[in-house]
Assembly symmetry: C2
Homo-oligomer: 302 residues x 2
């Protein structure tokens, strides 16, 4: 069976655009014209045995199910308003466990100022499936994947790699960072890093008309968990940062030194991790040498 990226690409190819559909399938969220202003919406499931270990506490599962979607809204510069929750539980589920799931959903929603307004629970013979749909408004323009320009610097809003050790359950969606970046005219494109830095970078460059990029190995912010998993080996830790995925930080392309002062970004996020090239191809610069990067694949951690 094809990889999940290919399946979602098939979905994208199948459902074409429309006049009131400002951004369609293929970006982190869809943007539609609705009433007075544009609305951002997205929908992602998490499945036991795929997106989390079946032994994971359900409060954490609920939190991840919400935050995975909020991270998609963050990458568009959207503010989450409403959530719908659809849960398929195994038939022998205790009500107390379901309440833990709801608690995790509510925790994550409350932190982001969003509300769960609808939902449905079904029971099946299969694994737990939690599908959250998130709806939000856009205070400014929408950030998309498609506007990167040759000469832009590349940045990311947090550390990378080793997410499977816990970060993928406990991460905080970078909503404040996304809103702030959407107000910066210097920012040309952004994407939620879910499949891994190199793969999501390749997606952004493809969407921007087939550009390339060079990453600076020394500038990649490697998460401590990635270094631990690599047993202290720097090369292997870097490899994890480039490909592990489920980081749920924002990757963006911007005019060099074009951001305003202030805002929620760390000093590190303001330092480039690489730059966009006019020619296709991904490169990693380490020491004085430059080597080609394969788009490192990623399917979920489990």
């Amino acid at each position: 069976m094809a990889a999940e990226r290919d399946l979602t690409a098939a979905l994208q190819a199948f459902f074409p655009g429309h006049r009131d559909l400002l951004v369609g399938i293929g970006d982190d969220a869809a943007i539609v014209r609705q009433g007075r202003g544009p609305v951002a919406m997205c929908c992602d499931p998490v499945v036991a045995g795929v997106h989390f270990d079946a032994r994971t506490g359900w409060r954490r599962v609920g939190r991840k199910a919400v935050n995975r979607n909020l991270s998609d809204l963050a990458a568009m510069g959207a503010v989450p308003d409403w959530l719908l929750l659809s849960v398929v539980v195994p038939r022998d589920t205790a009500p107390a466990r379901l309440r833990q799931l709801f608690t995790g959903v509510r925790d994550a929603a409350s932190l982001a100022g969003a509300r769960v307004v609808g939902g449905d629970v079904a029971a099946s013979s299969g694994p737990l499936v939690v599908t959250v749909s998130a709806y939000g408004h856009l205070p400014g323009r929408a950030l998309t994947r498609s506007g990167a320009k040759a000469g832009d610097t590349l940045h990311c809003s947090g550390t990378l790699g080793g997410s499977r050790t816990g970060h993928h359950l406990t991460f905080r969606p970078h909503l404040a960072e996304g809103h702030w970046l959407a107000r910066q005219r210097a920012v040309h494109a952004a994407i939620d890093v879910s499949d891994g830095l190199v793969l999501d970078l390749a997606t952004m460059l493809d969407a921007s008309g087939g550009l390339g990029a060079e990453l600076d190995a020394a500038a990649i912010p490697v998460r401590a968990a990635a270094r631990r998993l690599a047993g202290g080996d720097r090369e292997r830790a870097l490899h994890r940062a480039l490909g592990d995925g489920e980081d749920h930080v924002l990757l963006w392309a911007q005019a060099p030194r074009g951001l305003a002062a202030g805002g929620p970004l760390s000093a590190r996020a303001r330092r480039p991790i690489g730059r966009v090239l006019a020619e296709p191809g991904l490169w990693l610069r380490a020491g004085g040498r430059r080597r080609r990067l394969r788009p490192l694949g990623y399917e979920h951690a489990l």
Copy 2:
């Protein structure tokens, strides 16, 4: 484990209301204030082995996944605009099967004038799960479950019972009927008949402040499939019409003879199937006798 209705009731109890949430969990769809006007949104999954037989063609599955949600919007008087699609497929799924699913989704969306604008496909070891979120606007007021009044007549927009023989896969959501009813001031409350006439009627009466109702056995529109399943036995066919569920017709309460002429309703839908009583309790009048109705339970056909 508790019945699905109880699980969804737990969800309703867990997530309370909000100023901009005009209708929350517990009605067929949520209504929120968004931009200029109110927006209706809902989200329901269909699961292999629960909502359809695992041998069902995936085009029909896609169609049901959409129409189940559109029927919820219909019951609110909403016009569907946008759909999000989340699919969890078994790991060995052939791409051609997935395209059949997408085709069914597109067919149902197109018929209703709605667009699929976002989605995600994941693979798991479990059964097929298709979760559609539907999002629509309200041209007039929202129809809710909670406005029925003693003395109202009860009506339904189509036939009842025996849905498991095929109707649950091929039904047409009664969108035109819902829009039209929402414009009729005489209509006080409406609900999508998914759990069975008696159970959904009980839900509407509870939501309307604890009223009762009397149904007229001779006036209940029994679907031909229910008569076939009952082997021609009238009493058993009626029992099916009262309790089988997944009819996805609209049940509503209205001021007697208060509807305008014209519109999409059949002559039969304009004839009452019963009336609302001030005292709690459900009754069935057959011949000259009146007997008590238990709220006939329903969990999915399979």
